[in-house]
Each structure stands twice: as structure tokens, then as C-alpha cells.
């Protein structure tokens, strides 16, 4: 009897925070003593790892029957890059500048014949005049002729005006409009140590600043000169059950440049032409390149791209998020447990005891949300920490190329996936409290999170509709798994199946959080008003 009377007194003297601590402990005790829920969480972690490994084991890449050797260049930021162009260059000291006028940019595209692209046979057979939107030519200062070395470039493009681009991922817009003999573009790059500044002008007298690039460790002597390149042409021909199939081929760009002046160059320097990248081992098919000099006029022809390499298209690469495909299975298990964490109380009538013991119903739901969220986060984190290294090991062992990512991106992938599952569990709890019937609540949450993703991967809906679905539905959170950013300066088929999402990683995650917060708020409101 003494203990029975002491307990309420002690509870009554506690502050509000202490009572919430009691609630948390009560909910944690409920969770850990129901064997099915603990097993459910363990199953979630286990299937996340196992399905990731199975899918990695089912991904093989082989080249001519043997293992592949991937020689993709890596840029200064650690990302895989394409670095193929024709370079007409001279050495440049640590201080100096290069100026040139571009009077024309023309190109050749593959000829499509009845949906098939004719490429190959002769050097230019099957090509017709035309310009890729991201064909580029102009002036460039580059650390060396090695692929993947640091650079800054001022250029004119096929359809995006003049731009300054540097270190593969950076892109700043300059003067708009196409370049013609009547409307040429003057381009200038000045170097002061590691800083390269880009200017452009329509007349060679009035210059405007476009951008400033800091290229750490550029070195004392670099290569400066003229370049031309043109990315491969891709056309989507059919949308199948599992992806977009397309055809394409290499393209060529030819630029005419004059008024070329190099200040700070070594006196004995002479212009030399070098084909950077290209050849049969290159990732992108390259048509080669050449240059021709007549007096002060240079005609430079090149093919390829100077840009980050992105998945999709014909590339054989796998992205790191493929190792976490098992998170879908884990998600389903987590949603089932999260829903039952509240619906089981309604089913057994325990909810009446719970609410009698702690009449602040909003706090009870908050405690439940914290417990299920925390437990899910830890289980999913363990699973992801195991699945990512193991999965990438298996993928590489099977001859696949994995796009390199920075350690920070890898941390975001692992922790973000765990956080996504945790928020999904909270959403499931909230929907469970709203509907009080487990089967319908589980269905609603799984369908809201997984079905939009499935629709996007399998191209069930036309491209615009599924992109909107992946922006608005809770499925938007999968963008937290995107490891290779979307670059506007790279024309690429952005598909969810290729690991490319319409929303930025944290923005997509915020969409799921907003859904969970709204559902939890509505659940608190209704649970307070309704009888238990």
C-alpha cells in the first residue's frame, strides 16, 4: 500500500518534462516487449541488406568476355568527368591573359534514318549539318593536357549563349544569343596566380565580367589556347517497361576564331594541336578533331565534352544508391511496424489504459512518434552502413563501374536513407492513429511512398506527369539517395530509374517530413476530440 500511495505523489511533484520522460519510457517498454515489433525491425534491417546484395550480385558488366578496365578521368572535385576536346595550346606563365574573337560555330549531327542513327563508316559519313545545344568552343586555361586536370574556359555554345565554365561542374552565363559573323563574340581569360577571371564582349572594346574561378594548385606553367568540342547526340525512341531506350551518336563542332592574343606566354612557345581524350577507350564516342591556321584565323574542330560525367544514356556505370535498393523492402516492414505501434493498442483496448494513465493525448502520440522514429533510424542506419560498402564491393567485383562520390555524399546517402525510413515510420504511426485500422493505414502509406517511385521507374505515365508525382507525393524523399547531382549544363535524360530526381535531396526529404508533420498534427487533433 505504501508504494501505491507513494507513486502518485512522486509523479505529481514531477515537472512536465519528467512526465514526458516517463511517457517515452512507457512507449519504449511497450515497443521492446512486443516480440513481433522487434522482429519486424530486425527484418527491416535484414531485407534492406539482403535485397541490396542480391541486386548487386545480379549486376554484371563484362567487356569482350573479360573484366572491364574503366579509365574515367576524375575531376578536381572527385567526380567522374568527361574531358574530350580538341586543344590548340601554348604554355602560359602564372600571370597573363588570352583573348580571342569567335566569328562562327557550326556543327554536324548524326543522321537519323527511320529511328536508327547511322554512325561510323567514314570519318563524317551519316552526318548532316546541325548544332548540339551544348556544343562549345572558345578559349581555355588548363593545368595540363592530362584528362581531368583543373581548367577555366570562356566559350560560345550551340544554344545557350556565351558561358564561363570551370572545373567541370561550374557554369556561369555570359552574353546571350548565337554567334555569327555579323554578331561575333570576344572572349578573354586573365590569370593571376590561382585566380582566373572571364570576360566577354560583343565588340572587343566594352568588356563585361562573367565570372571568377579560383583553381587551387594551378601550377606555375599551364596550357592556354583554343578549344572546340561537342557532346553526343541522344534521342529517346521508345519508353519501355523498364526504362527509356534511345539512340544517338557523336557530333562535331567547328569554330572559327581570330584576333587571338596571348600575353604572358613563353616567347619561344608555338601553337600545337592536341586531341584530349578520345580513342576507343573513351566513355563518349569521339569523332576526333583537328585545327587549321590561315594567318591569324584558326579553325578548330572537336568532339566530346568537358563536363561532369552523369549516369544514364549508354554509360555502363552504376550509382552508389543502387546498393540501397533493399530500402524499399525495409520501408515496407518499417511501415507495418509503425502502423501497428498504434493500431494494436486500439485493437486490444490498451489505448484506453494508456490514455487513462496519461490524459495528455498529444504527448502520448509525440512520445510514440519519437520512440518509433528513433528505433527505425537506428535499425535503418545499421542496415545502410552495412549495405553500402558490401554492395559496392560486390558491384565492383562483378566488373561494374561505380560513379565516385565524395565522403559527404556517402554520409548523406546512408544517414538520409535511415532518416527517410524513420520519417516514414512516423507517417505510418500518424496514419494509423487517424484510421485506427491497420490494413488500410499500411496500404495508404506504402502506396503513397512506393507507388509513385514504381510508376516513375517503369515509365507508366508520360514523363511530365511522373515528375510531378515525384515532387508532390511522399515518394519525393527518395531524392535523398541521389548521389550524382543534376547539372543544367549537361543534356541528359533525367529519369528516376537512372538515379536522377526532380527535387534536390533535402527538398525531397522535406516533402516527406511535411506529409508526416501534417498527418501527425491531424492525428493529434482527432485523437483529442474522439473517444478512444
Amino acid at each position: 500500500m505504501t508504494t501505491a500511495t507513494a507513486a502518485p505523489d512522486r509523479a505529481a511533484t514531477r515537472a512536465g518534462r519528467g512526465r514526458f520522460g516517463d511517457l517515452l519510457r512507457a512507449e519504449w517498454t511497450k515497443f521492446r516487449t512486443v516480440r513481433g515489433w522487434v522482429i519486424g525491425m530486425a527484418v527491416a534491417a535484414l531485407v534492406t541488406v539482403l535485397i541490396g546484395l542480391l541486386s548487386a550480385a545480379g549486376s554484371h558488366t563484362s567487356c569482350n568476355g573479360g573484366p572491364c578496365r574503366f579509365l574515367y578521368p576524375v575531376g578536381p572535385g572527385g567526380e567522374a568527368v568527361t574531358d574530350s576536346f580538341y586543344f590548340v595550346h601554348r604554355p602560359l606563365a602564372s600571370h597573363g591573359s588570352i583573348t580571342a574573337r569567335v566569328t562562327s560555330l557550326t556543327g554536324l549531327l548524326p543522321t537519323a534514318t527511320g529511328g536508327r542513327v547511322r554512325v561510323g563508316q567514314g570519318p563524317q559519313s551519316g552526318l548532316h549539318p546541325g548544332l548540339e545545344p551544348w556544343s562549345k568552343a572558345g578559349i581555355i586555361i588548363k593545368a595540363s593536357t592530362r584528362q581531368g586536370s583543373a581548367y577555366a574556359a570562356m566559350m560560345v555554345t550551340g544554344r545557350h549563349g556565351a558561358r564561363m565554365q570551370y572545373d567541370y561542374t561550374q557554369d556561369v552565363a555570359g552574353l546571350p544569343g548565337a554567334v555569327t559573323a555579323a554578331s561575333p563574340r570576344w572572349l578573354r581569360l586573365t590569370r593571376a596566380g590561382d585566380t582566373v577571371t572571364g570576360y566577354n564582349s560583343a565588340d572587343g572594346r566594352h568588356w563585361t565580367l562573367v565570372g571568377t574561378a579560383v583553381l587551387p594548385g594551378l601550377g606555375s606553367t599551364v596550357q592556354a589556347g583554343l578549344f572546340a568540342t561537342s557532346p553526343a547526340y541522344n534521342v529517346t525512341t521508345a519508353q519501355g517497361l523498364l526504362g527509356v531506350s534511345g539512340t544517338g551518336g557523336p557530333t562535331l563542332a567547328t569554330a572559327v576564331l581570330d584576333h587571338v592574343s596571348l600575353r604572358g606566354g613563353q616567347p619561344a612557345g608555338a601553337w600545337s594541336g592536341t586531341l584530349i581524350g578520345g580513342g576507343p577507350s573513351a566513355a563518349t564516342p569521339v569523332q576526333g578533331g583537328r585545327y587549321h591556321r590561315a594567318g591569324g584565323t584558326f579553325t578548330v574542330t572537336g568532339s566530346g565534352d568537358i563536363a561532369p560525367d552523369v549516369p544514364g544514356g549508354a554509360g555502363p556505370g552504376q550509382t552508389l544508391d543502387h546498393t540501397l535498393v533493399g530500402a524499399f523492402a525495409g520501408l515496407i516492414a518499417v511501415v507495418v511496424v509503425g502502423t501497428m505501434f498504434i493500431t494494436a493498442e486500439y485493437r486490444r483496448g490498451l489505448i484506453r489504459t494508456t490514455f487513462a494513465a496519461s490524459p495528455r493525448r498529444g504527448q502520448v502520440l509525440a512520445a510514440k512518434a519519437i520512440v518509433i522514429g528513433a528505433v527505425t533510424f537506428i535499425a535503418a542506419l545499421v542496415a545502410a552502413v552495412v549495405a553500402v560498402p558490401l554492395g559496392s564491393h560486390v558491384l565492383r567485383g562483378n566488373g561494374n563501374y561505380l560513379y565516385p562520390v565524395t565522403p559527404l555524399t556517402e554520409v548523406r546517402l546512408v544517414a538520409g536513407t535511415a532518416a527517410m525510413l524513420a520519417v516514414a515510420a512516423v507517417l505510418a504511426l500518424a496514419i494509423g492513429a487517424l484510421l485506427r485500422r491497420s490494413a488500410i493505414a499500411v496500404t495508404v502509406v506504402i502506396v503513397a511512398i512506393v507507388l509513385p517511385f514504381l510508376i516513375s521507374v517503369t515509365n507508366l505515365l508520360p514523363a511530365g506527369a511522373d515528375q510531378w508525382l515525384m515532387r508532390l507525393a511522399p515518394a519525393a524523399a527518395f531524392s535523398i539517395q541521389q548521389t550524382i547531382p543534376n547539372y543544367p549544363q549537361v543534356s541528359n535524360v533525367c529519369s528516376v530509374g537512372g538515379g536522377c530526381y526532380p527535387l534536390a535531396p533535402w527538398a525531397g526529404f522535406a516533402v516527406l517530413c511535411a506529409w508526416a508533420a501534417a498527418a501527425l498534427g491531424l492525428a493529434v487533433f482527432l485523437v483529442r476530440r474522439r473517444d478512444a
Binding site: 541486386s55 554484371h60 524499399f328 507508366l460 508520360p462
Partner: protein, 280 residues
Amino acid sequence: MSLAPGAPRALTRPAPATAAAGLRDALHAEWTKLRTAPGTAGLLAAAVALTVAVGAAAGAATRCPAAGCGQDPAKVSLTGIYLGQVVVAVVAVLAIGGEYSSGMIRTTLAAMPRRATVLAAKAVLVTGLTLAAGAVAVLGSLLAGRLILPGHGFTGAHGFAPLSLADGPVLRAAAGSVLYLALIALLSLGAATAVRDSAVAIGIVLGLLYLFPIVAGVVSDPYVQRHLQQIGPMTAGLEIQATTGLRSLPLSPWAGLGVLAAWAVGALLTGGLLLRLRDA
């Protein structure tokens, strides 16, 4: 003991002499339960409405700008099955999972000790209800497609006849989609009988449906990809909706439906066996 006039007669009524009579009684009892359970009618109506609505929306969002646009009008009209099947699965799961959650199953099995008969009666009724709702949903979807699609480029000039059940492949897609829904219901009923919990059962069913295409989308090996599509209950079963490009399918339409049927039979046998062996 009740003294209601009807009670003594009910008590003295002889036990069913034959299995057929037992099944008839079981059917009657299960029909009463299913009919009066809250939600059954609403869920079936929702399945029909969602299937038609999603099919109409998919039709409205699809364009066929020129001949040879690679679209399959029957398949586009029947896109709603992707959502409708989920509601059908919930109905089937609740048909037995609801009894487990309320404890009704003990009463049911006490009244009808032949557990296989109980499960068979549930399977027959769930199949019948799904076939009826599925037929309405599929006909509604095709009607919506027939009205919407010609306005989006699916015209005779582009090589498309209006959707009609008189057309062999369209009839196969329509009838097959109705059968598909019935098989999904049986798969769900079997899974729910095996795990005795609605939430876990629906999680398993949705996992089986969704995981195969998602993993197939990630795997880079075309051979493994094709196999995953061949064995997945949804990917294989929905082959029945194809009316064009049959050569490029991983499985022929009827073989695909056969794979789903194998999944459904497997789930029902597992559920039936466990129901027989375990305590309720």
C-alpha cells in the same frame, strides 16, 4: 440457453451430410459476414472508382503525336489496375485478417470445424466479388479510354482502331485484367491466412507486387532483369494487358497470368496448411 422459437430447431438440425452441403452452409455464413462487415462494399466501390479514374487520367496525360508512337492504348486505359489491385488486396486480406483481429475466427472455426471448407468458402466469395467489381472497373476503364484516347492522337490515321471488346487482343487484355484482380485477391487471402494479421499480410503482398519491378529496374544484367520480370507476380501477371509488341515481352500474356496463378495457389496452399495445423 435461449428460448427463442427458432433455437431448438437450429440445434436439432442434423450436421451437413455431404461436403457439398457443408460448403453451401459455409458459403452462406461467410457471405453474411462479408456482406455485413464494415467497409467491404465501400472498398470495392473505391477499387472500381480508383481504377477508372487513374485509367482516365493516364489516358488524358498520354499523347500519340504520330503513327508508330509505341503506345499500347489498351494498356494505357487499364493503368488504373495498378491502384485498383491494392484495394482488392485489402478487401481479401480483411476477409480473414479481420476475423483474427477481432477474435471472431475462434467462433467461426468452432461452428465450422472443417477449416479447409471455411477457407474455400472465403476464397469463392472473395473471387466472386472481385470478378464482379473487376468487370465493372475494366469495362469502365475501357469505355473511358474509348472516349478519351481518340482525342489524343490514337486515331485511325495513326493506326489505332477504337478500343472494342470485339478485338481479340483487347478482349484478352480486358478479361485477363479481371482475372488478374481475382488472382491478386486469392494471393492476398492466402497470405493473410498464413500470417494471421492484416497489417503484416498487406505488407507482404505489396512487397511481393512492388519489389520485383523495382529491383529489376536497378539490376544491370539484362538476363537477371528478364528473369525478375518473369517471376514477379505483378510484372508477370500484367503481361496480359499487352496488345502490341508481344514479341518483346519477357513472357507471353497467358503464361504471365499463369505465373501469378502459381503464386496465388502457393499462397492459398500455404495458408490452408497452416490454418489446418495451427491453433486459431
